[in-house]
Amino acid sequence: MPTETVVSATNFSYRYGDFTAVQGLDLAVARGEVYALLGTNGAGKTTTLEVIEGHRRPTSGSVSVLGGDPTDRRRIRPRVGIMLQESGFAGELSTIESLRLAGRLSGRDDSADELLDTVDLRSKAETRVVQLSGGEKRRLDFAMAIWGAPELVFLDEPTTGLDPTAREALWEVVGDLRDQGTTVILTTHYLEEAQRYADRIGLMHGGVLQREGTLAELVAAEPSHIRFVAPPGADLPLPISSTEHGLVVVTTDDLQGDLTALLAWADRGNHRLDQLSAASSSLDDLFRDLTTGAHS
């Protein structure tokens, strides 16, 4: 179980003029963890990441990365790989030249050929970057971030623009890095990716880290739902929370008990429960509740 804290932030806020992008954020990421930061557009994920990466100084509060100030590039960056959400290339350089340039500037050693193999860009090694597709540029970006297997990798929406095969391949590499002890902090819009690959998840909305924990912890705190078509005129044994496309929705903290009671009631009264479904809360539900709840 990892214990050493690699990234810690205490009550940090960041403001763009009058607009507060991140407010009072506390964060601790342990060595070897894959931590996913999720949130709506404009939730403050990228600003959070950029402050932790050392691209910006927090307006207030403190941030520590690998035991130091993240803006101390000379000391911190040789141990860190960064894949920005959006960043430019020198378009007239070839793929391998761009990768080698990033490698030389990283302060770490690696093989450009092997890395191009890893991200499946070997055949594009001599192609000018300006001629690469969006997905290929993203893979090159990823290769630059993981050059020399850094201790800590930041991935800001790494799979945006990638096809499913490339996404799978990227996560496989992230898994390998984690197995080697690398800490990964990422943002993504793909909830299923966070669900599948992250050890812990932080949910941001409106510049605030609203929830944090493992998937099980996050979901456990949320109620489950039973959905079915209510038999006409029947007096249901459970309170209806809402209706959805002709289905009644029962929200419950005791899914097994309430489902058993519902089925027993239906059996006794010979009621038919069409389209019956029962499910624990998912990350999608949690995300939706968080955003709609905060909006309302």
């Binding site: 960064i82 920005l84 960043s87 430019g88 290339f89 500037l105 302060g107």
Partner: protein, 236 residues
């Protein structure tokens, strides 16, 4: 810094049109001097104007445009995601432009020497003068890039300083320094005409330190302005 500079130089050379014109232009100018020998006393005038325009366009305007472009397409941000320091990044991006500027001036000065069938009397003085002007324009390029939102804007934001420096060299060369001598020499590139006179026709060498002072001062001003005005992010 070296890795960035090598990459920039590689891109410069890779664009054949740019590389060809970068070398061809000063060669053509040098050739014109050879074919049309400057009039008596005209070497210093020609050298002054060539230094001002060649470095003004080649270093100042190109440097401003390059930095604005690199910032706009977020390449600067990528470089800042590395372990390279800010000064190393700027130096790496600007160094090839400075080198090309020096090469261009060297070609033109060679053309002038061939046209005059004589080496400059104090040719060594060209080295500090051209270097200072080169670095001054590079510093102002970094500073101006700070207020230039896009490469397209650079053609407007560079106009004032470019015309001031070229205008000063014209004014001082054409009107001399008998009147308002100190004022003229204190202006950016204002001391260059007299320095070029010493370079090509001999003159009072004891005046060289005095003439270099404003040139050094403007170089320092440019570097201070670069540090104060440059911004890394498209949005602040």
């Amino acid at each position: 810094m070296i890795a960035i500079a090598v990459s920039e130089l590689r891109m410069l050379v890779r664009n054949r049109l740019v590389a060809t014109l970068g070398i061809l232009s000063p060669l053509v100018i040098g050739g014109i001097f050879i074919l049309n020998r400057p009039p008596e006393g005209g070497l210093a005038f020609a050298a002054t104007l060539q230094i001002a325009t060649m470095l003004g366009l080649g270093v100042y305007v190109t440097g401003t445009t390059t930095l604005a472009a690199r910032r706009q397409n977020l390449f600067l941000k990528r470089l800042r995601s590395s372990a390279a320091s800010d000064p190393a990044i700027i130096a790496g991006l600007i160094a090839p432009i400075i080198l090309v500027g020096l090469l261009q001036v060297a070609i033109i000065m060679t053309g002038l020497a061939v046209s005059a069938s004589a080496l400059p009397v104090h040719g060594w003085l060209l080295v500090p003068v051209v270097l200072l002007v080169d670095v001054m324009f590079a510093g102002f390029a970094v500073a101006t890039a700070g207020v230039t939102n896009s490469p397209e804007h650079a053609q407007f934001t560079t106009l004032p300083l470019f015309f001031v420096t070229v205008g000063v060299t014209f004014w001082v060369t054409l009107t001399g320094t008998q009147d308002l001598g100190l004022v003229k020499q204190a202006l950016p590139l204002g001391a260059i005409p007299e320095l070029m006179g010493i370079v090509w026709y001999d003159g009072d060498l004891s005046r060289v330190p005095l003439l270099l002072i404003p040139t050094i001062a403007w170089t320092v001003v440019a570097l201070v302005a670069a540090k104060a005005m440059f911004r890394w992010e498209p949005r602040s």
